[in-house]
Amino acid sequence: MSRIDELLETNLKSRELTGKPAARNRHRIARRDFLKTASALTGGLCIAAYIPELAARSVEGAPANVFAPNAFVRIASDDSVTVIINHSEMGQGIYTSLPMLLNEELETDWSKIKIEPAPVDPAYNHTLFGLQMTGGSTTTPSEWERFRKMGAMARLMLVDAAAQRWNVRTSECHVGRGVVIHAASGRKATYGSLATAASQLKPPANIPLKDPKQFTLVGKPTRRLDTPSKVNGSAQFGLDVRVPGMLYAVVARPPVFGGKVASFDAADALKIPGVRAVEQIPSGVAIVADRFWSAKLARDKVKITWDDGPNANLSTTKMLADFSQQSATPGNLAKKSGDPAAALSGATKTITAEYDVPYLAHCMMEPLNCVVDLRADNCEIWTGTQFETVDRANAAKTAGLPPEKVKLNTTLLGGGFGRRANPSSDFVIEAVEVAKVAKAPVKVVWTREDDLAGGWYRPMWHDRFAAGLDAEGNPVAWTHTIVGQSILTGTAFEAFGVKDGVDSASVEGAADLLYGIPNLQVDLHSPKIAVPVQWWRSVGHSHTGFSVEGFFDEVAHAGGKDPYELRRKLLANQPRMLAVLNLVAEKAQWGKPLPKGHGRGIATHFSFDSYVAQVVDASVEKDGTVRVHRVVCAVDCGRVINPDIVKAQMEGGIIFGLTAALKIEITLENGRVQQHNFYDYPMLRMFESPEIEVHIVPSELAPTGVGEPSVPPVAPALANAIFAASGKRIRRLPIRASDLATASEAKS
């Protein structure tokens, strides 16, 4: 096992990937283990304190007139407040919501706040995962307490500095908009004027936090801090980074996964003006040039003979049939309650169905890229990543340097959706390899074609269901066999995420079904296929949401029940989901007649600890074209930090889910990916974008995930709406107009 694998395993074994914390103090354990393993990894890197948040004071070496009480905030004498952010901004709004948390306690003037991405340092590790990373819809749950504490720590020290200066008690002082005030004497001091004095003080041992009832910022719609830079072209994404003397590179990668370069002829490519080098690297052939365009033109001229290796026969058409066949046999048990077999055979009515979803590419608008400046004894990297600790460690290994000699700069991400948290750091280590042959700072750019053919897809999945209904039409038995590649197997996460042959990410949303069905079985086949797979916005929920909620609708209809009413009945013991369901039904006016040809579909899904229900209004044209008119969404994600950001994430997740439902698939024939660019991997566009309405259930419970939970329910809500509109049942994504023209009503 490599050192990075050990590191990850040690830090992550105390957590189930998609589950809840095993214990309240889990992050403390992970943090302690991290310090231990980080030390092993780096050969004795000294961590400054047992309070890692304080470590960056020495790491960063703030100037004397800047008050840096911890790793997350700096206050300068000009009253500016810099919030250092340890999670990556990929659109989800954390460059605004995390400063809101910090400033809820710091109470400076909001307009004084600047943001800065954190360097890689254990001080910035995720409180649940023990790694610096962004994913799993966990940024707010990770930082909800810490960012408030970091703000409170700074405020307490500033008040202390003012009280000492005025020789009064701290209890006689209060703060407001970046000013400490001693009301009795009328004295005031701005935070900036106290910065130098506060820097001399020791951090307080006890940091009490506000009663949430006193919140003035958390819970209020607050404009995003990053919007101005995103409407004038000044926002810096990875692809926008320029360093002096930088060259550009593209890589020719094998057309078949696992393929290798047999031989290549670079003579014609080297004739293109500006081309500096054409060299073999582990992942293919790198073409380095003065400009991206020269490198791209030259790539087309390199004559490469590939050794396709053993995977040149891969075919998703064949896999579709294989998966269906496998699903007819029992897999590894993920969940069993009651006696499903007996309940099925004793049922008044049974129905069965099979569901399919394809491989999907993340297809972020900003294609992958990475800038590397590799020098003899150190290395600097600029990239938009979700996986800082892992990428730095992997880059260091590739460069032959200790991790502390690798400086990784996180830029803005032009979308992530999971692809930029690659367990093997594929796009980062490849860029380090390119830098070795470029012998200069180099920016490796992926084209859209490279991105779509590059693997690391959402797995293709098949779901086979059977349900048994009693004489009243209520489901009494539910069995669900899942077939699809394991994402976690073969990664450093395998040890804690895969148990008894069941990858928790494959069965999430299925094995933890909220509906009260007494006899339940979920089992799993995890075929080993050479297509690299990875988490894709909502991970396993992206297939279980569709299949479970689609089949539930079939069950309701088979039993003669209204799909909303049956859900209500079976969620009687799930108050939070029930509330969300009732809210969405009310807002969507469930039951109210629709225009002719329209249908309503409903779905719920629990993921990332959040509860979401959606109602879709759709119609089907004569040629089978689906029109989505309106989506109503209700969400309970615990306490909301910024309601407008929550709404934006729900809206965005719905569009993302509709693209998957209506548009995209990655297919392979002869081992080759069949899709190339947006013409054959199309995205939902403005004219197809429905009216979206989001309703948030008020909650005082701890915040839960927001970035992903709106994706899973939209495909089934749409499929169920199509059934209501046309009587045609959708069991395979993407929805095809041709299926709607010809599909028979049911397989049951």
Binding site: M90, G233, L239, R291, M365, E366, G414, N677
Partner: protein, 156 residues
């Protein structure tokens, strides 16, 4: 050597005249607000104005712009004062933000030519621009809001 006007300033570059304008703007001239998304005029991330009309710079050869005026997102205003920029901020349109330069440049032509626009006009003018984050509902709102700002200004 090819010369053209970029955001009102004369520039000269010695890139091959067949080089797509996108890469001249980004790599040679260092203006990175204009984005690369597909290289085939399919996504609109690279939208700029050529003599006031929206074009996809990823497929426009440098030779096409010789002697002409090109405007990028950086040239829309120097102080976030364009009605679309104000509306985008008011509605908080962007998520990742990567496609937004192109969205705004497409919308700018629509707004200039048709300030009394309808949803259908927006569908027609904006469907060449992809947003993977799914900000379409907010782009629609923001364009309507910008149109209101324009008509308010005209009325006053």
């Amino acid at each position: 050597m090819t010369s053209f006007f970029l955001n009102g300033k004369s520039v000269s570059v010695d890139d091959d005249p067949s080089t797509p304008l996108l890469w001249v703007i980004r790599d040679t001239l260092g203006m990175t607000g204009t984005k690369f998304g597909c290289g085939m005029a399919l996504c609109g991330a690279c939208t700029v104005h050529l003599e006031g009309q929206a074009i996809r710079s990823c497929v426009a050869p440098l030779s096409r712009v010789a002697g002409k005026h090109v405007t990028t997102i950086e040239g829309l205003s120097n102080d976030l004062s364009h009605p679309l920029q104000r509306a985008w901020i008011e509605v908080d349109v962007p998520q990742c933000g990567y496609c937004q330069s192109g969205q705004i440049m497409s919308a700018a032509v629509l707004l200039r030519e048709n300030p009394k626009l309808t949803d259908k006009d927006i569908d027609e003018a904006m469907s060449g621009n992809i947003c993977r984050c799914g900000t379409y509902p907010r782009i629609r709102r923001a364009i309507h809001r910008a149109a209101e700002m324009v008509s308010e200004k005209r009325a006053s």
